[in-house]
Amino acid sequence: MTLMAYAHAVNLGLMDALRADDRVIVLGEDVAEAGGSFKVTRGLLESYGATRVIDTPISEATIVSAAVGAAMSGLRPVVEIMFMDFITLAMDALVNQAAKARFMFGGKTSVPMVVRTPHGGGLSAGPQHSQCLEAWFAHVPGLKVVCPSTPQDAYSLLRSAIDDPDPVIFVEHKGLYGLRGEVDSSVKVPIGHAAVVRQGRALTVVSYGATVAVCLSAAKQLAEKNGIDAEVIDLRTLQPWDKATVLASVRKTHRVAIVHEAVQAFGVGAEIAACIAEEAFDELDAPVMRVGAPFMPVPFSRSLEKKYAVDETKVLAAMHRLLL
């Protein structure tokens, strides 16, 4: 058990995976010599050499497709896309190739690859360097999508993702890279399992990634000022999401909000809300709420981005609306 930053936890996950399985290779732009633009892959080249830790040209479409081909030919590639915004260049590789190879070739192959990519804003990185696009991939059959919120989950979910026989989009948050937390490398977190990070009876808040901490903070305030206890669930995996845990919570509290940093419209929250409304209709004592970013590109100006962001105040407002 060691206290470390989220970025370090990812680094450790990659190191341990490279050591445990010869088939694992790491590739991406500036991942080897430079150790990654966020230093997440620091030291990997020195430890494992250029055959297994590969600097690629700026060719997202090709490097992700190459990962598909390499995965189909016996390796377990972990590709880094430097900012999730750039994943758009690799959409064919992920959506038409990685996601479908197993299915359209009759179940006779698998694509055991991982795409690691940091999403998220709050750093004035601007509209093309701050997006949260995970909903797109959760919508594609054949892909798995995970989004850890803590260093422990980052480590354990990365190991699970690399071990998974299918393509996994591993979404990190650039603003969480410095977040410190305890990491026990023997802890296993399977894909598809959510965590109830705060127990409560009055209402449920479902979230993932950086907004989990925001929800916990709002829940603390709600308890201290109003004596109301909210249950907070960290999804950890978005596709497949842990529907059983969420529905069990809704059956207990009868009030639920889904919170994420990503744009609210057509986001992950929309699918979860619809499932809850359909499968737990008779448990609901209030409409299902969602809190997400407004329908706007992420603005650059600090004051604009602050208003854009999903913060405690917005989460509390949703919680209060649930209680009306």
């Binding site: 040209p57 497709s65 189909m72 030919s73 038409n96 190739q97 179940g107």
Partner: protein
């Protein structure tokens, strides 16, 4: 015969040539049959036929060794048959039946078999190229001695992934062979109206050895391919083989090809790779009778496979869910 350069590094035996010829006959028979059954309305979706391009398929398919991998295109029937794909499984897939090589999940554009080293047939133009690149990386990293071949048409020359892949493969000196089946047409447009450069020019830009062969001369293709693969196995980095050929049918079946000149017709006939191959075989001592028997044999194989395909069961829908994800040990669906 060939007006293009071709390098004959080694001789070819009669049996080897016969194998090439039989492969082409099979492909021709399959594709011609598909023309008819598609016109009958028996085949769902779209099909893209490679009549006229058999020499490239046979030359490449027979040159590849076990352990090598190949990525093909939407016009890949010839390629996969040349790699030895099961004929019945092929037809069943075309018909979308349960016994198809992809269990009816993919269809004409995706007919492939991993166990033969075919790492997919792609409906996205050029998409197979970086996938083959990745495969070559894996084969080298694993030290298997295998190499990867990406087949693509001249229509893919304008795709960015080709340029990116040429760059990347060269930087890493990957054992990747890029084979361009240049039939002069990018869907419905002549390629010279779609691509301002040339494959030779691009290869020079990336310092990748480029060879051009008469794509309708199966012997030339085969020799060129074998030579290139040998170079790849030597670890000298990627190579490009451009095979000049002709597409007889339209971009897809049903394409009336109004955009093509009638004058092209005679050119196509004189370029027919099978006719040329017959000529060469006779030169090497084959009899008319033998040639005829070879042809009948292909046709019979095709007829038999077709019967099986037409009567095969439809795939089970619930079972299709099993192929969305790979089951993990202990997982229940």
């Amino acid at each position: 015969m060939g007006t293009f350069m071709s390098n004959i590094h080694s001789r070819i035996t009669l049996n080897e040539f016969k194998a090439l010829h039989e492969t082409m006959l099979l492909i021709r028979s399959v594709e011609s049959t598909l023309v008819k059954v598609f016109a009958n309305g028996e085949v769902p979706g779209f099909i893209h036929l490679s009549i006229g391009q058999e020499a490239v398929a046979a030359g490449v398919g027979c040159a590849i060794a076990p352990g090598d991998t190949l990525a093909t295109t939407h016009r890949g029937h010839g390629h996969v048959l040349a790699m030895g794909l099961d004929l019945e499984g092929f037809f069943k897939e075309i018909y979308g039946r349960n016994g198809g090589v992809c269990r009816g999940r993919g269809g004409s554009m995706h007919v492939s078999d991993m166990s033969l080293g075919i790492i997919g047939a792609n409906g996205i133009v050029g998409a197979g190229i970086p996938i083959a690149l990745g495969s070559s990386l894996a084969l080298r990293t694993r030290g298997t001695g295998g190499v990867s071949v990406a087949l693509f048409g001249d229509g893919a020359m304008a795709e960015g992934v080709l340029h990116e892949s040429m760059n990347f493969a060269k930087l890493l000196k990957l054992p990747l062979l890029l084979v361009c089946e240049n039939n002069g047409w990018s869907e419905f447009s002549p390629t010279d109206r779609q691509f301002s450069g040339s494959l030779a020019g691009m290869s020079a830009a990336f310092n990748i050895p480029h060879e051009c062969v008469d794509g309708n001369d199966v012997e030339a293709v085969w020799h060129a391919c074998k030579g290139a693969l040998k170079e790849l196995r030597g670890g000298n980095g990627p190579r490009i083989l451009e095979c000049m050929t002709h597409r007889v049918r339209g971009h897809f079946e049903g394409d009336a090809q109004k955009y093509r000149q009638k004058t092209e017709q005679s050119l196509l006939e004189s370029a027919d790779p099978i006719a040329r191959s017959e000529y060469r075989l006779k030169e090497l001592g084959c009899t008319e009778d033998e040639l005829h028997r070879m042809k009948i044999h292909s046709e019979e194989r095709v007829s038999a496979a077709l019967i099986e395909a037409r009567s095969d069961a439809e795939p089970d829908f619930a079972e299709a869910f099993h192929d969305v994800h790979t089951p993990v040990p202990g997982e229940t669906l």
